[in-house]
């Protein structure tokens, strides 16, 4: 009996395989396979049924009928709404990533040059707002940016303007919201990179005659490239699919693909088209995602050596 138990135990996967298998299977099942399913459903058509789409494969008499409806994709391509939404999303994502970089870089730079004791406090202060609800903080901006909101009232009380500035429900509000919400995602990787810089390089540059701005542009900036890319990816990729910010701060004409997908799904109940929108979005983002993944693995590996 004991020998049987021992030989069974030998055949079972050891703890090492279990540790690999559990997260692997979970992610395969709940992250990877769903994409395949979304792909499959993007090829079916909407139906008044539960679930609201036609099956891909069905029995018709004695034979199996495979109906691949490419209509959804054709619809996406033909209807200018979707093409515009994709382009608009990319544009907004690129602009806001750039703005986020402009705002976030000085913050990361300043923190990286603080006394070590103060750095952690400063970092915590940057991260702290993110621990409170994202939704509610965007909601705060509604109150600030609307026509009789805090900003306009403040400016009018100071006499700087006569008419309220129309900011809410314009792209400007969306940019502000995105920069606000994603700032920590830009600051943290930038900080992680900048803090490793050897200050003596700057001292050497100064010694050789370069003024502060010059040494920043020629030494600090290029060396922080990896941090910039990491921060940019962490902002750009999710922003392409953002829903909440354009929904609350943008106008009816602020086209973003995340909103389109939401409306397609919840308002039109057209699951196949929503799936097609998602698949195309995924295809667009594959390259940036791979760039990000390469950076991530390099980060994890460099810490091991």
């Amino acid at each position: 009996m004991k020998r049987l138990g021992a030989s069974i135990r030998k055949r079972l996967p050891g703890p090492r395989w279990l540790v690999i298998a559990v997260p692997y299977l979970w992610m395969l099942l709940f992250f990877a396979i769903p994409f395949a399913i979304a792909l499959k459903i993007s090829f079916s058509s909407a139906a008044i049924a539960m679930p609201p789409y036609t099956p891909l494969v069905e029995w018709v008499g004695d034979s199996v009928k495979l109906s691949l409806n490419t209509g959804n994709y054709l619809y996406l391509v033909r209807d200018s709404l979707y093409v515009n939404a994709y382009l608009s999303s990319l544009k907004i994502a690129l602009v806001s990533t750039f703005l986020c970089l402009l705002v976030g870089y000085p913050i990361a730079y300043a923190i990286a040059r603080m006394e070590p004791a103060n750095r952690n406090i400063a970092l915590m202060l940057v991260i702290l707002p993110s621990w409170t609800s994202f939704l509610i903080r965007i909601y705060a901006w509604v109150g600030i940016l609307k026509n009789n909101g805090l900003l306009n009232n403040f400016l009018m009380n100071l006499g700087l303007i006569d008419e309220p500035l129309q900011i809410l429900h314009t792209p400007v509000a969306v940019y502000i919201g995105i920069v606000y919400a994603y700032l920590p995602f830009m600051v943290l990787p930038l900080y992680a990179n900048l803090v490793k810089h050897d200050h003596r390089l700057i001292e050497a540059a100064n010694d050789l005659g370069a003024r502060p701005w010059k040494s920043f542009l020629t030494i600090t900036l290029p060396l922080s490239k990896a941090g910039i890319i990491a921060g940019a990816m962490l902002v750009l990729i999710p922003v392409v699919g953002e829903f909440v910010i354009p929904e609350m701060l943008g106008g009816a004409d602020t086209l973003m693909i995340g909103r389109v997908l939401w409306q397609e799904f919840f308002n039109n109940r057209d699951w196949p088209v929503a799936s097609a929108v998602a698949i195309v979005m995924l295809a667009l983002l594959i390259v940036p995602i791979m760039v990000f993944h390469r950076y991530q693995s390099k980060e994890m590996e460099s810490r091991l050596s």
Partner: protein
């Protein structure tokens, strides 16, 4: 040792940055005490909105749902995330490790609409077959949340594991402990603070999620963000300000406690090292 110093310019930018980050939060808190319903016109001090908030049954029910889901999400994410982090940082290469790494870290950047929609489609397609997910509710939200929170926890814990001196684990093995024992007796206690950070991070991410929850929830499992979103669509309400202020208060208290614990630890550490140096 050379120490960089901040010029007035960079310090000014830092201050501006912090003002930018905190002004909206401050406005939320201030106007939660506003007497009038109009969120942007101050008409007097009042705490009535806090009372209104607590009397709102639906809001309180949604909050309870969110807290439960967030709690279990955080627990599961830490367990799975630690496993994933160990695989990424401590295990030798195996076939499929690159795919593993990609799967584990992709959720960090994946737009939530994509993750939310596809997981829902999974539940709808496979649910009837294997029995989970057919009825959407807290279970499905939990599954979806764990799927995307795991990535963040993995990053936090991998980072800590990467910094850990390998020779500690080797020394334990050298002294006779097998790999499993080394993990539970040596590695885990030492990385415990990272586990706590990971737990808190996952808890916050789950508590705060709107998009994914909207896709995968069921009729009886409305989460707090979903409730807030639907009420905000109807217009601004100081009740939401009150809710916001309470959350800010909770987070600030937690942050202060955390900071106090860390500095107390640090001071004790300094004292110990001084003591050691003196006694030679």
């Amino acid at each position: 040792m050379s120490q960089p110093r901040n010029s007035r310019f960079t310090l000014a930018m830092l201050v501006l940055g912090f003002v930018f980050l905190y002004a909206p939060i401050l406005s939320l808190v201030v106007y939660s005490f506003n007497e009038s319903r109009l969120v942007t016109v101050w008409s007097g001090f009042s705490v009535k909105w806090y009372g209104e908030l607590f009397r709102d049954q639906q809001m309180m029910a949604a909050a309870w749902v969110s807290v439960q889901v967030a709690f279990w999400t955080a627990c599961a994410s830490v367990v799975l995330g630690t496993m994933a982090a160990m695989v990424m940082t401590r295990f030798r290469d195996f076939r499929g490790k690159t795919l593993f790494g990609a799967l584990i870290t992709a959720p960090l950047v994946m737009p939530e609409v994509i993750t939310g929609l596809s997981i829902l489609l999974l539940f709808v397609s496979i649910g009837p077959i294997i029995g989970i997910g057919e009825q959407r509710g807290m279970l499905t939200i939990w599954i979806a949340h764990v799927t995307f929170c795991m990535a963040f926890v993995t990053v936090v814990i991998s980072s800590r594991l990467g910094e850990l001196d390998r020779s500690l684990e080797e020394a334990a093995m050298d002294l006779g402990a097998n790999r499993l024992k080394v993990f539970f007796v040596i590695t885990l206690p030492i990385i415990a603070p990272a586990l706590v950070s990971g737990w808190l991070l996952a808890f916050t991410l789950s508590l705060d999620d709107l998009v994914i929850a909207s896709f995968v929830s069921g009729p009886s499992s409305t989460t707090l963000p979903m409730k807030v979103f639907s009420s905000v669509r109807l217009g601004l309400s100081p009740k939401i300000n009150a809710l916001a202020s309470l959350m800010i208060l909770a987070v600030s208290i937690a942050a202060v406690i955390g900071w106090w614990l860390m500095t107390r630890d640090e001071k004790k550490r300094q004292r110990d090292m001084q003591m050691a140096l003196q006694k030679g």
